[in-house]
Amino acid sequence: MKSFDEIVNHIKKNIAQVLLESLPIDKINNDDKLIADLGIDSLDYAMVMLSGEEFIGKKVKEEGVIWQEIQTVQQLAMLLYKQQGD
């Protein structure tokens, strides 16, 4: 199982890649909203999600997930962290 911090770092690394390294990783904060603050779109979000699934070795189960509550880096990391244990 990946630790929460490992997942957070993986997500930040992916966001930087999605933005073609125009934003340094150390400028991405845990409470930044992926779309509203960091400027990624739904396609980029899907890409970050996909990479996260691969990182934890599991596909995200949608049941019970309220996507409107998965806005920030931390919230996405928590979703992936919890899904590991399911």
Partner: protein, 350 residues
């Protein structure tokens, strides 16, 4: 190469392709029997117990001399199509001689493979038969061959091999089929074998050989198609029959855009894998690639990509962002040692 077919109601298991040719000459062409070809060339007879296949033979058309084939393709359940063997041979275009040595790279239980076999029967040419349809077995027979019919995907795999060995092969005719041959494929083929005549064919199990072109350009002149139409979704209809293929007309030429059923739905935006692959293959250093759908909880599907070549994924992504709409740019890009093909030698869409 093992092969099997079922003749009439009694069943007859053929084990060698040469035996199949003898059967075609002795039984099928004269109209003494029908037979059902299996798409599997391995030694597995479990399919013959399925009543669906048996009844299909029993319910075959009254006239004999029919061959039934399974459609190939990358998605969907295979369908059984009946063909009159005698008519197929009569309608086959192209010349040949007994000095031609055609390499069999396709499954003889599918239209592409059977087409090569029937052509060699018609022209009294020789058939070069690999031990099986693995890449290594096909490659081993290249130096014995002068004529080759293959998919563009198989050709890309060949390009990764020792070019010295391939260049020394006396290839006089190269025919691309089974998949769309892009301009790059055609140009690369001419570079590898400058003396070869390079042809590409549009065909399907249902329609047979529709047309072939040897002018060195991708696409097909519209004049080669008879009774054709393209509907609002871009699907080609021939004689009123849906081909399931998406095409685009540019001046007097038709260009293939992908299969209707292969379309990847990215949040409502449609992406045909072929278009993505064409752009990826145009990047220097890319040898072959395969685009496919990946289920995604947010968008339904996103595009995945496997590619072969010494290229960094990020560089490839930047390249594709300049050429494709963002929804078509693969969300997952994997550098792999080889891409997955189906048993028909086509890119797998699964």
């Amino acid at each position: 190469m093992y092969f099997k077919c079922w003749i009439g109601k009694s069943g007859y298991f053929v084990q060698e392709v040469q035996k199949l040719i003898q059967l075609i000459n002795d039984c099928i062409i004269p109209g003494n029997a029908n037979f059902l070809l299996s798409p599997s060339y391995r030694d597995d007879f479990s399919w013959i117990c399925d009543n669906k296949y048996t009844s299909c033979v029993v319910e075959s058309p009254i006239t004999q001399g029919q061959i039934s084939l399974y459609t190939s393709g990358t998605t969907g359940q295979p369908k059984i199509i009946w063909k009159n063997c005698h008519e197929v041979i009569l309608n086959k275009k192209g010349t040949g001689s007994q000095n031609d040595r055609w390499l069999l790279t396709f499954n003889p239980g599918r239209w592409a493979g059977l087409s090569v076999i029937l052509h060699t029967i018609r022209t009294n040419a020789q058939l070069v038969i690999p031990d099986d349809l693995t890449f290594e077995s096909i490659l081993a027979k290249f130096s014995d061959s002068t004529h080759v019919s293959l998919t563009p995907s198989l050709f890309r795999k060949l390009q990764l091999c020792d070019n010295g060995m391939l260049q020394s092969a006396d290839i006089q005719q190269l025919t691309f089929g089974g998949e769309y041959a892009t301009q790059k494929i055609l140009d690369d083929a001419r570079k590898l074998w400058p003396k070869a005549r390079v042809t590409h064919i549009y065909a399907s199990t249902e329609l047979g050989d529709v047309c072939s072109v040897s002018d060195g350009l991708e696409g097909y002149p519209t004049m080669k198609f008879i009774n054709w139409a393209i509907d609002d979704d871009g699907e080609l209809f021939l004689n009123g029959i849906s081909t399931g293929d998406l095409w685009e007309v540019n001046f007097d030429r038709l260009y293939y855009k992908g299969r209707n059923s292969e379309v990847i739905n990215v949040g409502g935006a449609k992406v045909t894998p072929t278009i993505v692959e064409q752009q990826v293959n145009s990047f220097p250093g890319i040898h072959e690639c395969r685009a496919y759908p990946i289920d995604n909880p947010l968008l339904g599907q996103v595009v995945g990509l496997d590619y072969v070549g010494p290229v960094e994924p990020l560089a490839l992504r930047k390249h594709l962002l300049q050429l494709l709409p963002k929804y078509a740019v693969p969300a997952k890009i994997n550098q792999v040692k080889s891409v997955q093909l189906t048993s028909a030698g086509k890119l797998s869409r699964i």
